[in-house]
Each structure stands twice: as structure tokens, then as C-alpha cells.
């Protein structure tokens, strides 16, 4: 309960002002295509040079929480996921916005984010010592199985054909191997100089999601679309609140999945949303509604995204190991002020540590209030005529993918992947599995190679990868996931015409 004692420090005029600044700034940065939470926090670091340690961290903590939620804004309104975390949000959120229910989608996403986020930070406050052990329990073999688990959801994620889903996943896995191999340093598949640094995940995301949408707007041609213009429905916040509360299942699946996955160093943030989305789809009685603008899809994805924020800082605060790129940047923010995180951080610098955590707690609430306030206004983006929208999204995609690492190569990769994806989508391939493959490829590969190097020096491959409680547990989930997908496939095939599937 010690944290309550330090709540006062968050509400001093300067601190609260910084908290507001961080939250609003974070939402804007998060909603800008191409700016991931990591980059947004890195951009703010120079501002903290001038501030005291606690104040600097208030700014960074608030910015971190709200950039993750802000990514949902561009995912819902423009179908450009701000970061890998927001991919799952586009699936239902953008469909909903296209139906004129953008305000509802945004309200749901902010409310679910706040619920997940507050839960995650509370976990960080109360269970840090326990969670720290859990975070360390994942060695190379476990991370490898976890990546394989991710691969098994590829087929069931999106689209109507399992084989094409898996094939899209394979294309993604292959794309992830382009560039220098991370451990040996060998060059692989570099057939154009732009690919020397591999395919940047943010640039790829922008291309794969935004460009097909631009092209399908072009495909409608120069005709009067005012008749197609949707009226943006107003949606009361109370209704959204009721809707979130009534989707307990999606909310709890999202929050719990996000918290657990967020803990695992190096994996968490990127796949939490997708895994939660897939799980709540599997457990839902209205499975077929997912992907057509179903509120549960948004709630699961967004609560998972923000639930992961708190736990992802556990390894950093207790063990001084940054578990994610954003945590690494936050570590820099701490070090500049001479604060070394570690198990004694809460004894040596309680004021800084607790103020930081409290600011994330209050930041979640502020982010939600501010987000709900602008949701109705932001949803009007959907009334922008399509020909203007296509040009705007194209321009944003080009600037966004360039600003990731000031590289023209990323822009070329973005457009090439996007144009390719448009044509593939017309023939039943889909972007979400492809992106999941792109994310999981490096995790699976690096952990397999590291694991096998350790295994060869010690107990041998078989015992290293196939024994141990956690390994067996993960393998069991992998098998269960595969059996479940096959069973669902067979069951639904019985009800529909045979040729339509696979």
C-alpha cells in the first residue's frame, strides 16, 4: 500500500501539468503513423534532461501508456496500425468505423485500454517480486515454443481459407529472414540494396495495411461517392461503458492474456493483442462475427495491449533488464538521473519509483477521459470523401515509413509490400497472418539457434527442448491449439459446401 503514500507527488502543479502534457502528446504521437511507442518515448528523452528524475519519469510514463492507446486511433480510423500491438485492433475497429460507428469503436477501445492498463499497473504494484521470477523462467527453449504457439494461430486468425492463411504466414516468415542474419551475420536474400537492413516491421505494417486500402479506394474510380457517405453515428459514453462491462469474457481474456504475455522479455508487446484476439474468438459463441466490426474483438485486443504495459516493466524495475525496446529507452531515462533500477530501487529511490508507477496509473485514467472526449470528433474522419482519404493515407504512409529510421529504402519496401498485398488480398490471402509471421520469425529463429547452441554444449537437443514443466506445458498448448483449429475446421466444413473451404 506504500504507493498511496506517494500519490500526492503526482498532483503537484508541475507534475500534473507534465502528466497532462505526456498524455495528450502521447496520444498524438501514438496516432501518427510510423511512430511506435518506443520512438515516441525516445523522442521525449531529451526533454527530461532538464527535469528532476521523478518529473522526467512522469512525462515518460504517461507518454508510454498513452502512445500504446493512441496507436488504436490510426488503426481504427485509417487502418494504419501505429505499432505491431495495434494490428488486432484494425480487424474489427476499422470495419466498425467504415460502418459509421467510429465513435463507438474509439470509445470501446479507450475504455478497454483503461481497464486493461489499470489492471496491468496494479499487477506491477502488488506482484512485482513474484512476477520477476516468472519473467526469468522463459529461456530460449520456452520462447521458441511460444513462437510456435503464435504460428499455430496464424491459420485461424483471419480470412476464410486456412491453407491461404498459413501460406500468408509462410510468406511473412520468409520476409523476416531477409537481411543480415542476427547471430551469424550472413547475408540472406538481399536482392536489392534497400533490403540490406532487413524489412522494418513498422514500415511493413504501414504498407501491408494502408496501401491495399488506398488502392481499393482508387479502384472505385472517379464517381460520385456522396451517396455512399456514411453518417457518423453518435454514441453515448454510458452505452459504451455498458457494452464494455457486458463483454466480461473478452475483457478478462484480453486483460489476462496481455498481462501474462507482457511479462515475457522480448516477445510480449508485439503479439499480446493478436493472441488475445484469437483466444477470445475461439471462446466466443459468436465466432463468425469477428472481423465484421464486432465489439468483443476491439475490447479483447485493446485491453490486452494496455494490460501489457505494466508487467512489461517488471524485469526492468526489479532486475535492471529491459524486457522490451520501450523499457530499454525508459532505462536510459532512469540512468541519466543516476538511478539504477534493481531489487532495491523501491528502498533507495521510493519517491521516484512510486511516482513513476502512480503516474502510469493516473495516466491510464486521463488517457481514457481525454480519448473519450475526442472520440466523437475524431470519428468524423470517416466522413472525409474517399478520394481525399486515399491521397491523405498515401501521403501519411510515405512520411510515416520514412520517419521510422530516415530511410528511403523503407519507403520503397512499404509501397512494394503494399501493392503486392492488394493483389494477394483480392485472391484470398490476408495481411494479418503475414504480419504475424514477420514478427514471429526472428523470435523463433534466434531462440532456436541459441537454444540449440546451449543444448549442444550441455544436455543435448532433445532433453533441452522437450523436458521441463514449462516446455511440456507450452507443447501441450501448441498441440491443443492445433487440434482445436482442425476440429473447428472440420465442424464448419460439415455445415458449408465442401469446395468453399481450404
Amino acid at each position: 500500500m506504500e504507493f498511496i503514500y506517494y500519490f500526492g507527488d503526482v498532483f503537484t502543479p508541475i507534475s500534473f501539468g507534465l502528466l497532462l502534457l505526456g498524455t495528450i502528446g502521447g496520444l498524438i504521437l501514438g496516432a501518427t503513423p510510423g511512430l511506435s511507442p518506443t520512438m515516441a518515448v525516445a523522442l521525449l528523452i531529451p526533454f527530461t534532461f532538464q527535469l528532476e528524475a521523478a518529473q522526467g519519469l512522469i512525462l515518460l510514463g504517461a507518454a508510454y501508456t498513452s502512445t500504446v492507446a493512441g496507436g488504436a486511433v490510426s488503426a481504427i480510423l485509417l487502418k494504419i496500425p501505429g505499432a505491431p500491438a495495434n494490428i488486432a485492433t484494425t480487424l474489427d475497429g476499422h470495419t466498425m468505423a467504415k460502418k459509421g460507428q467510429g465513435a463507438r469503436a474509439l470509445q470501446l477501445s479507450f475504455l478497454a485500454s483503461a481497464v486493461g492498463g489499470v489492471f496491468g499497473v496494479l499487477l506491477l504494484i502488488f506482484l512485482t517480486p513474484v512476477l520477476a521470477k516468472w519473467a526469468l523462467a522463459f529461456g530460449p527453449s520456452h520462447l521458441f515454443w511460444l513462437a510456435i504457439l503464435g504460428v499455430t494461430i496464424i491459420g485461424s486468425l483471419d480470412g476464410s481459407s486456412v491453407v491461404k492463411g498459413l501460406l500468408s504466414g509462410c510468406i511473412g516468415l520468409w520476409l523476416s529472414t531477409i537481411g543480415f542474419d542476427d547471430i551469424m551475420g550472413a547475408q540472406r536474400f538481399i536482392f536489392h540494396p534497400s533490403l540490406g537492413g532487413g524489412i522494418n516491421i513498422i514500415a511493413a505494417l504501414i504498407g501491408l495495411f494502408a496501401i491495399p486500402q488506398v488502392l481499393s479506394m482508387f479502384a472505385k474510380g472517379r464517381k460520385d461517392t456522396t451517396s455512399e457517405l456514411i453518417s457518423v453515428e453518435k454514441h453515448s459514453i454510458m452505452d459504451a461503458l455498458r457494452e464494455v462491462v457486458s463483454s466480461v469474457r473478452a475483457l478478462s481474456i484480453g486483460t489476462i492474456t496481455g498481462s501474462i504475455i507482457g511479462l515475457i522479455p522480448g516477445v510480449g508487446g508485439q503479439i499480446a493483442g493478436l493472441v488475445a484476439y484469437d483466444q477470445s474468438k475461439k471462446f466466443s459463441s459468436e465466432r463468425e462475427k469477428f472481423g465484421t466490426g464486432h465489439p468483443e474483438g476491439i475490447i479483447a485486443a485493446e485491453s490486452a495491449n494496455n494490460a501489457m504495459v505494466g508487467p512489461s516493466l517488471v524485469p526492468l524495475l526489479t532486475l535492471s533488464i529491459p524486457g522490451s525496446p520501450t523499457a530499454a529507452v525508459l532505462l536510459g531515462g532512469l540512468l541519466i538521473h543516476g538511478i539504477f533500477p534493481g531489487s532495491d530501487l523501491f528502498d533507495n529511490h521510493p519517491q521516484v519509483a512510486w511516482t513513476f508507477i502512480n503516474s502510469m496509473l493516473i495516466g491510464q485514467v486521463l488517457m481514457c477521459i481525454f480519448g473519450l472526449y475526442v472520440a466523437g470528433l475524431a470519428a468524423r474522419v470517416a466522413t472525409v470523401p474517399q478520394y481525399v482519404m486515399a491521397a491523405i493515407v498515401l501521403g501519411l504512409a510515405v512520411f510515416g515509413s520514412y520517419s521510422v529510421q530516415s530511410s528511403m529504402g523503407d519507403v520503397y519496401v512499404m509501397l512494394s509490400l503494399g501493392v503486392m498485398m492488394y493483389f494477394l488480398e483480392r485472391f484470398g490471402f490476408s495481411a494479418a497472418p503475414l504480419v504475424l509471421g514477420l514478427i514471429l520469425g526472428p523470435i523463433a529463429e534466434a531462440n532456436f539457434i541459441q537454444g540449440s547452441m546451449i543444448a549442444n554444449a550441455t544436455s543435448g537437443l532433445g532433453p533441452y527442448f522437450l523436458t521441463g514443466t514449462l516446455n511440456l506445458f507450452l507443447i501441450a498448448i501448441v498441440i491443443a491449439s492445433i487440434i482445436y483449429s482442425v476440429w473447428m475446421e472440420l465442424r464448419s466444413r460439415r455445415y458449408t459446401a465442401k469446395e468453399d473451404l481450404i
Binding site: G185, S343, N456
Partner: protein
């Protein structure tokens, strides 16, 4: 008096005249970009952001330096870009890590060598150290080496990758002790390698002194030896490998500094070489670096050129057998 003013004016004109003759009198006219070939939040990135934070001051460059991260494959991605694709106009700087890029260029498969870049100045020197988990049975390097001699190839220890400082230190240890070791490169850099040690995935690890110092303060690891010529101010109680009887020099010490791609106009190189070391000496920079546990070591362009040449010779010898 009149003569004096006229003389001064003449002198001034002469100075500006020669300076503008090669067109760099006003350099820099816009913000400068510095490429760091490791991810945001890593030790190199963190230090680069601190040492460049005063670049906008009038007594330094008068223009801010923005950090651009191009991580991947132990730094190869970023340095390849700097050597091949970056514009050599003085507005694109790069951070170097020695011995990393020299070792990689000797090993091959990259588009750069020490001749592809022009050093400007060095800001830091971060020696490699040997760490083990806090509950480890090893208490000195002799314990480690004896275990490795009894169990050849079974002593697993982590490091930040292949052909980086940590790997060089590992090779030196293997050579000096005569034991057979199992070096496990990590794809997440020094932080990932440290996690592997703390979590007990490996029996030990080579890591940066700055990161290991922090982990030791947090009570997570023991530091058994420093791969340098003398003990470090941050760790006065930890003996060097040489003191423990292993013939290992400072070839693995991670020198960090600023360079530009070859082809950058000489006028700009001269101006940077004169200004940048002074910029590093700024009191605020030193204070932040010390607070973050990062050892500073400022060297001028000439000293760095000498250091690069010396490293190239040592590394060629060490890597010859691989």
C-alpha cells in the same frame, strides 16, 4: 589606430576568405544526424544521446545532433549503410564501436573496412568483464577455467554477438587459458546476454562493464575479472585477467566514438575534429555519463587513427585461425 582596424579587417577577410574557399565556413547550417548501429536504449545509443546533447550550444557546433538508430546483425546493418548509402556531406555522422566493426570487416561479408570511415573523436571506453550469477559456485577466473578444463566445451557463457568486443574477449580467454569454452552469442545484445546470465540459462557471460556494474549493484551478478590492462575506477576491487594469470590485453575494450563516411570534405572533418572533443569535455556531459555508470575516455582524431591501426593488427592476428 586606423591601421590597426584596417589590419584587423584585412586579417578577418583573409580568414573568412580561406575558409569559404572550400565552402564550409558556415558549417553546420542545419541539424546534423548521427547514426547509431544499435537499438534505442542500448548502451551505445544511451551514451551517444548524452555526449551529443550539448551540440546545439554556441561554443560547440551550434546545431543539434539527432540520433538515428539502424540496428541489426551486431552493427553490420548500420555501418554498411554509413559506408555505402549515407551522404558524405558532413551532415551524416556515425557512432563507431571498436573492435566490433574492425573485427567484422576482417571476417568479411560486409561492405566496409577501417578505410571506409574517417574518425572524429572518441568519447568512451567500456571494458568487457566476466560475470556469473550471484549464486554461482565460481568465485574467480581460475574456478571458471578449471571447470572448463575438467568439462571441455561444457562451460556455456553468453555475449552480445559474434565478432563484437565480447566475442573477442571470449576468444582471448580461450587462447590464454587453453580451455575449450562454449560461447553463446545473443541476438538481443548486451542486455539479452545479461538476462541469460541472471536467469541461469548460461553459466557465465562476458558483458559491458557499465551494464555489469549496474547488475552487480542490484545484487544480481558477481564480477570475476576485467578484460583490460588495469583495474577500472568503477570496480576498484575486481582484478584484471592479467592479474589472475591470463595473458590478455585490452583488445576487447569497447571504444565508442564519432566518425564520418570517407569522402566527407576535409574542411568539415577538421572542424569537427577540433570541436567535438571539446564538446565531450562539457561538465554536464561528464556528470550524466558518470551518473549512468558509463566510463568516459576522450581521444582526439589523431589518437583514434592510431588506435584503429593498432587494433587492426591485433585483431587480424587473433582472428587468423577462424
Amino acid at each position: 589606430m586606423k591601421h590597426l582596424i584596417a589590419g584587423a579587417a584585412m586579417a578577418l577577410m583573409a580568414v573568412t576568405g580561406t575558409a569559404s574557399a572550400d565552402g564550409h565556413a558556415n558549417y553546420p547550417e542545419r541539424p546534423i544526424m548521427m547514426m547509431v548501429s544499435y537499438g534505442a536504449g542500448g548502451a551505445t545509443d544511451f551514451q551517444a544521446r548524452i555526449v551529443t546533447m550539448t551540440a546545439g550550444n554556441e561554443d560547440a557546433l551550434g546545431m543539434p545532433i539527432a540520433i538515428l538508430n539502424k540496428p541489426g546483425a551486431g552493427g553490420r546493418v548500420g555501418w554498411n549503410w554509413l559506408a555505402g548509402q549515407a551522404e558524405a556531406d558532413g551532415y551524416t555522422l556515425g557512432a563507431y564501436n571498436v573492435p566490433h566493426f574492425i573485427a567484422q570487416s576482417i571476417k568479411g561479408g560486409v561492405e566496409y573496412s577501417a578505410d571506409s570511415f574517417e574518425p572524429i573523436a572518441n568519447w568512451g571506453a567500456d571494458p568487457a568483464v566476466f560475470v556469473v550469477g550471484k549464486d554461482s559456485e565460481f568465485n574467480s577466473m581460475d574456478d571458471v577455467v578449471n571447470f572448463a578444463k575438467e568439462n571441455p566445451g561444457k562451460l556455456t557463457f553468453s555475449g552480445a554477438g559474434l565478432f563484437v568486443g565480447h566475442h573477442i574477449a571470449a576468444l582471448q580467454l580461450e587462447k590464454a587459458s587453453g580451455a575449450q569454452l562454449a560461447y553463446i552469442p545473443n541476438n538481443k545484445g548486451g542486455a539479452g546476454a545479461m538476462k541469460a546470465v541472471i536467469a541461469g540459462e548460461v553459466m557465465g557471460g562476458v558483458n559491458n562493464l557499465s551494464d555489469a556494474f549496474r547488475a552487480e549493484q542490484a545484487g544480481n551478478v558477481k564480477i570475476l575479472g576485467v578484460f583490460d590492462l588495469e583495474r577500472n575506477d568503477f570496480l576498484p576491487d575486481v582484478p584484471t585477467l592479467k592479474e589472475q594469470g591470463y595473458d590478455i590485453d585490452n583488445a576487447s575494450v569497447n571504444f565508442r566514438g564519432v566518425m564520418v563516411p570517407k569522402g566527407t570534405p576535409q574542411g568539415i572533418i577538421d572542424k569537427l575534429a577540433a570541436t567535438v572533443p571539446e564538446m565531450f569535455k562539457n561538465g554536464r556531459v561528464a556528470g550524466k555519463m558518470k551518473a549512468g555508470g558509463s566510463p568516459m575516455h576522450i581521444m582526439t582524431r589523431d589518437e583514434v587513427l592510431e588506435m584503429w591501426a593498432a587494433r587492426e593488427v591485433t585483431l587480424k592476428e587473433l582472428l587468423a585461425g577462424l
